[in-house]
Amino acid sequence: MLNWLKRPASETQITHGQRLWLYVFATVVMLLLVTPTLIVIPMSFSDSQYLEFPPETWSLRWYKSYFNSPEWMNATFTSLKAAFLTMLVATPVGVIAAYGLHTSRVAWVRLAFMLLITPMMVPVVLVAIGAFYVFVKLNLLYSLTGLVLAHSILALPLVLIVTGSALKSYDMNQELAARSLGAARWKAFVTITLPQIRFAVVTAALLAFLTSFDEVVIAMFISGGDNPTLTRNMFNALRDQIDPTIAAISTIMIGVTTLMMILAQIFGRGSGGK
């Protein structure tokens, strides 16, 4: 141990001992990053009204209250439906846009790209009130279609960036070869290009799903009526009081996120990591 402290730690010959503070600091920060979220999990199994840690008596009380509530169940299904449909809309639309912008060399490509990533730059509150206004006119307010549309434009920049960067490292000559052998352009794309960027496409799809599933502000404005999302209801519940049911829902949401991360790890491997 003492030897290790005196050993050089980097190219600059600084020893491990001299930067012990960095190791301690980094460990504390990493703990602080992870624990606040994870601590909700055991708390959600507490029997008490005042989420205690560690729980004195364990129970599934808050899970029961969640699963037995028609409102929460309805909101959960709305969120899952919206997220799934957002994934189905944003992924193909984003992938073909990324492909089009990558291959077309017209002068407006840069402008189009900038326009397509603006949903990432514009404060989400503005997107929300803007969408609220249009959807009132289009009669899409409180509809699943409207929700999916609005969430899709939030997800588009992510899909565009993830698949765009995969296309950049892909050798377009392969597609050229396929076409010179007689394949139509779309066929060359589907059979040659798509399989090679599939990891990026899968990652993009999962990001699109999560973007919609976790979105709060837009949902606050344009979801409601028969179709409120889970996040909208959670946010409203948070403003009123600390309902322990939210801890149970949070745990389930952490589960969904972790599942997505694992899926991204399994299917996104080979895309050069994150």
């Binding site: 990493m30 909700v40 073909i96 912008l101 603006t118 206004y133 992510l158 946010f235 952490i254």
Partner: protein, 294 residues
């Protein structure tokens, strides 16, 4: 010769058509962004210049200048954004440095501690802090049993709680680009520096740190811009005491149904964001910033 020319002309026309058709592949995406974002924001822009009487007027903007409450909201917004960015740099930079020095396998493993919160719902994380920081929460309990303070302290529903939550949520946005920039630094430069007699300290500050600044700049910018428009965390953890621009926009619509006032605030927020991004884009590659996050 003539045949050759017309052939070349034809090829060129075909090429142009092909490029246009390929560009057309982006039209569904463009159409969606146009309908759901560009047109509505354009309309908000228009509404912000319409007064209560339905005529063109600057009253919505004048109100912002005249009323003290609006000035306070802008000050709070910048305060929160600057403090969050500063704290993120102070906490995130050393962590990114620590991770960048580790062997790849270990670094990737520990990176999960950054990515897990990054992927976890913002609402869930905000809720977690609300539970931890409340009067009867874990932080107060532990601090009292450790003897740090005697009575439960109010650490949530105020600025402190807001900052704790914001920093926690924004940290990954800073760490990821900084880490990527640090990973790209050629270690031979540091060897050369020490070989020439620089102390570890000097080698770090004159060689390593400057080379990591593009990542640091991109990350800080990202955090700052995201903070400016933030809503959920200050709304929940601020307890009505920390009012940011986006919250005022929401209350203008939800409570007062005043689209003019909300739109004008939105336009100002958007312009500030865009100006910052535009100025920054002259110094840093924004594509790298957006691409670095994932």
């Amino acid at each position: 010769m003539v045949a050759l020319d017309s052939n070349r002309e034809g090829l060129r026309r075909d090429g142009r058509l092909e490029r246009l058709r390929l560009f057309g592949l982006s039209s569904p995406a463009l159409l969606m962004v146009l309908v759901v974002l560009v047109i509505p924001v354009g309309w908000l822009f228009y509404v912000s210049f319409v007064g209560a009487d339905g005529q063109f007027s600057l009253e919505n903007y004048e109100r912002m200048i005249k009323r003290k409450s609006y000035a306070r909201i802008f000050v709070t917004t910048f305060q929160v954004s600057l403090l969050t960015t500063g704290l993120c740099i102070m906490i995130g930079y050393p962590l990114a440095y620590f991770l960048s020095q580790l062997p790849n396998r270990l670094a990737n493993l520990l990176m999960i501690t950054v990515l897990l919160p990054f992927w976890t719902s913002l609402l869930v994380r905000t809720y977690a802090w609300l539970v931890l920081l409340q009067k009867k929460g874990l932080v107060n309990d532990w601090a009292i049993s450790l003897g740090l303070w005697d009575e439960p302290v109010k650490i949530v529903h105020n600025m402190t709680g807001t900052l704790i939550g914001m920093v926690h949520i924004m940290l990954p946005f800073l760490i990821l680009p900084v880490y990527n920039a640090m990973k790209a630094i050629d270690k031979d430069y540091l060897k050369a520096a020490s070989n020439l007699g620089a102390s570890p300290h000097r080698a770090f500050w004159t060689v390593f740190f400057p080379l990591s600044t593009p990542g640091l700049f991109a990350g800080s910018l990202m955090v700052f811009v995201l903070c400016l428009g933030f809503f959920v965390t200050p709304a929940v953890l601020g307890g009505g005491k920390v009012i940011m621009v986006s919250m005022k926009i929401v209350s203008n619509i939800e409570l007062f149904v005043n689209w003019g006032a909300a739109s004008a605030l939105g336009v100002v927020l958007l312009v500030i964001t865009m100006v910052i991004l535009w100025v920054a884009s002259r110094f840093v590659n924004l594509a790298a910033m957006t691409g670095g996050g994932h």
